[in-house]
């Protein structure tokens, strides 16, 4: 049948394959994406089947990769660019912020930038420095970019299809510690809009909002809380720019409490913006201030310390307790 159980990484691979098959203008570019199939094998087998002209091993220069992708987009191509790891995106940050994000506006709408930038992100895999970061806010802050992150295989598949079809640049953050998590993927489904949030678990007492790798954690938190008789709702935000505030608002108007969870540092993170907006929108519904759980204002720590840095079951439950105590 149309539905098939597959790992999140495989779902992205299948989605890229479908895009390469259905649109000759789609290109894959990045370091080691060809022969090797990417360091996480997300592009495995694509160069073999679509050739070096469409699945392009690039020189090791991130600014060069994004800069030439912009040029290819100007020529009518739809490049899907891989940045090998989150912490390696910064050489390309200038091209992304000053050129990719602004080209459509600069041209008064005459030029479109259908470029997808894939970034495996987040920690929890015991990696060395620069391999575990969550820089999504640095992109969500930039007008002209759209920023999304799937939390499961089916979303990974469909959100990639939609990102590639978008005429705007999309930064597609891949939760690398969930790459091997399997789920049903229905390749004939009719997906909802790319930038809507989804209630993945209904609850009555408090809303947990998260995206990417933290959605699974929040579901585990909800399970643990249920054992203590507390009913938590979990919202998978899916999109960090734009953020679907309506869905969060509807949930908070019901539960009257909100905890936002992300791996990225709490300070000026997505949670800060969500807290501010939800406070504006739901001031009279809230029983407690919006709380945030996330990374600290410190460099991402060495692997032996990352469990102390990353939000985990207990830290989220602690925030839930604090919220419910108001």
């Amino acid at each position: 049948m149309a539905a098939e159980k597959m790992a999140l990484a495989k779902a992205i691979n299948e989605s890229l394959r479908r895009a390469l098959e259905s649109d000759p203008k789609v290109l894959i570019m990045g370091e080691d994406v060809g022969k090797l199939g990417g360091v996480f094998r997300v592009t495995d087998g694509l160069q073999k089947d679509f050739g070096e002209e469409r699945v392009i091993d690039t020189p090791l220069a991130e600014s060069g990769i994004v800069g030439t992708a912009i040029g290819l987009a100007l020529r009518g191509y739809r490049p899907v660019v891989e940045i090998q790891f989150d912490g390696f995106v910064f050489p390309a940050y200038d091209q992304i912020v000053t050129q990719l994000a602004k080209m459509h506006a600069r041209s008064l709408g005459k030029v479109k930038m259908p470029v997808v930038i894939r970034i495996p992100y987040g920690g929890g895999i015991g990696a060395v420095e620069h391999h575990s970061e969550s820089p999504e806010t640095l992109f969500a802050h930039v007008a002209g970019l759209k920023v999304v992150s799937p939390s499961n295989a089916e979303d990974a598949y469909w959100m990639m299809q939609q990102a590639i079809q978008s005429d705007d640049p999309v930064i597609y953050f891949e939760p690398k510690r969930r790459y091997w998590d399997k789920a049903e993927v229905n390749r004939e489904a009719i997906p909802g809009p790319l930038h809507t949030a989804r209630v993945v678990r209904e609850g009555a007492d408090l809303t947990l909002a998260a995206y990417g790798p933290m959605v699974k954690l929040c579901q585990e938190v909800a399970d643990a809380a249920a054992e203590e008789g507390r009913s938590l709702e979990v919202v998978d935000l899916r999109s960090m720019s734009p953020v679907d505030f309506d869905t969060i608002q509807a949930s908070v108007e019901k539960t009257r409490r909100l905890v936002v969870v992300h791996e990225a540092p709490v300070f000026l993170g997505s949670g800060a913006e969500i807290a501010a907006r939800i406070t504006e929108r739901c001031f009279y519904h809230l029983e407690a201030p919006v709380l945030r759980v996330g990374g600290y204002h410190a460099p991402y720590p060495p692997a032996r310390l990352e469990e102390e840095y990353l939000p985990d079951l207990d830290r989220v439950l602690d925030a839930v307790d604090r919220s419910l105590a108001y």
């Binding site: 020189p59 220069a61 800069g67 100007l74 200038d94 709408g109 705007d168 720019s241 734009p242």
Partner: protein
């Protein structure tokens, strides 16, 4: 035809071979030099750049480099058949571009423009290279390529919107294959390279030309563009106008080697041309574009020229350079030398020069009138074209902004 044999060989070896044949003496012996002698070479290069230049018209307007055994015969062959009409065309382009540029500077002084980046002195580099492009070629400019824009048929008044502050680029890049001005230094070299990679994928025989300056040569993006272009054998010509000054920083603050020699390390030819000689620039750019079209990959042209004016109208060059330097370059003026040649060859008469004078004044007047009439954009333009497919936050903020604006109307109504 040039290098037709090398063209069939593997890309990288073809590139490096070509670099050897098109370079200069400093090129071919550079590898054997010690650090100390390299330094000597650099000093010598800076003191006597003329010895390295491809030049077809001397500052006195004398046609040179035509002999079959001339080291520049290969390039000269690209303008062998140039007609008096074409020569007059180059002259006309330069004069009108200079007139437009002067008008823009004046409009800035009158408060009509917020800023202007003058091309004064660089007319030959821009017109010579711009006229070498074919209609289907694509141009990636900096923010000073007013002469190239002219060659591509972009209405010069469209260039002024961003300098007046009514937009950030007021023309459709695809209607003239002339990309928007890029202000971040060197970024466009990568866009040009990517575009050229796309041309190859399309199986087309168009070429791309990327403009940048001596300051941009220090940018990582320019080096990355060189490398991507070489690795993918992209049909892109890197056109560096070395106007000697990156705002206040001289060449010596940018490079230890003559810039055209950078190409050799990336595996493609580099050539330094007299950037004030429109004929030589036309020839060398045609050569580079033609070889790109034939699949021979990128080339670097260093047009050796001089920024006669300030970096922009906000700059004060008296703080960092002497007038005598400017005076020395004035003697090599690009327009004057072509005029001398046209006159000596009887290719142009007083009637031609007189008519051009009136045409210049008419252009200046039109530019003045258009700029003065250029309206401020509607305030809601802030929210236009942020995204192609829309964005919920932009919609929300536009609505809030509209409500805020409307509150004034209501207040006035009371």
């Amino acid at each position: 035809m040039t290098e037709s044999t090398a063209a069939r060989k593997p890309r990288r070896s073809a590139g490096s071979k070509a670099a050897g044949t098109t370079g200069t003496k400093a090129d071919t012996t550079g590898a054997k030099r010690t650090t100390r002698t390299t330094r000597t070479t650099r000093t010598a290069a800076n003191k006597a750049p003329e010895t390295e230049l491809v030049q077809l018209l001397t500052p006195e307007g004398e046609r040179v480099g035509t002999a079959k055994n001339s080291p520049y015969a290969e390039y000269a062959s690209f303008v062998d058949g140039i007609t008096p009409d074409e020569l007059r065309g180059l002259y006309r382009d330069m004069v009108l571009t200079r007139r437009f540029d002067a008008e823009a500077t004046a409009l800035q002084r009158q408060g009509e423009l917020g800023l202007w980046a003058s091309l004064l002195g660089q007319e030959a580099a821009q017109i010579g290279s711009g006229r070498a492009t074919r209609e289907d070629d694509y141009v990636f400019p900096t923010y000073r390529e007013h002469g190239v824009a002219w060659c591509r048929g972009v209405d010069p008044t469209n260039l002024l919107g961003m300098f007046r502050g009514v937009n950030n680029g007021g023309w459709d890049p695809n209607s003239n294959n002339f990309h928007l001005y890029t202000i971040v230094i060197g970024s466009q070299a990568l866009h040009a390279t990517g575009y050229a990679m796309g041309i190859t994928k399309d199986g087309a025989d168009s070429a791309v030309i990327a403009y940048f300056g001596d300051g941009a040569s220090s940018q990582g993006d320019v080096s990355e563009a060189f490398n991507f272009a070489a690795v993918y054998n992209a049909p892109v010509v890197f056109f560096c106008q070395n106007n000697q000054w990156a705002i206040s920083e001289s060449n010596e603050k940018q490079t230890r080697v003559p810039l055209y020699q950078r190409a050799q390390g990336f595996g493609f030819p580099g050539v330094r041309v007299d950037g004030n000689d429109a004929l030589a620039v036309l020839a060398v750019t045609r050569w580079a574009l033609e070889r790109a079209r034939r699949g021979e990959g990128p080339a670097l042209i260093e047009a050796y020229t001089y920024r006669m004016g300030a970096h922009t109208t906000s700059d004060d060059p008296s703080r960092y350079r002497h007038d005598d330097e400017r005076a020395a370059w004035e003697a090599k003026d690009p327009i004057l030398r072509l005029r001398r040649f046209l006159e000596a060859e009887n290719h142009a008469d007083e009637g031609f020069f007189g008519e051009l004078e009136s045409e210049s004044e008419a252009l200046g007047k039109r530019v003045r009138e258009v700029v003065r009439a250029m309206p401020d954009p509607d305030r809601f333009a802030i929210f236009e074209n942020v995204y192609a497919d829309g964005h919920a936050l932009v919609d929300e903020e536009r609505a809030q902004f509209a409500a805020y604006q409307a509150s004034f109307a209501e207040a006035e109504g009371v």
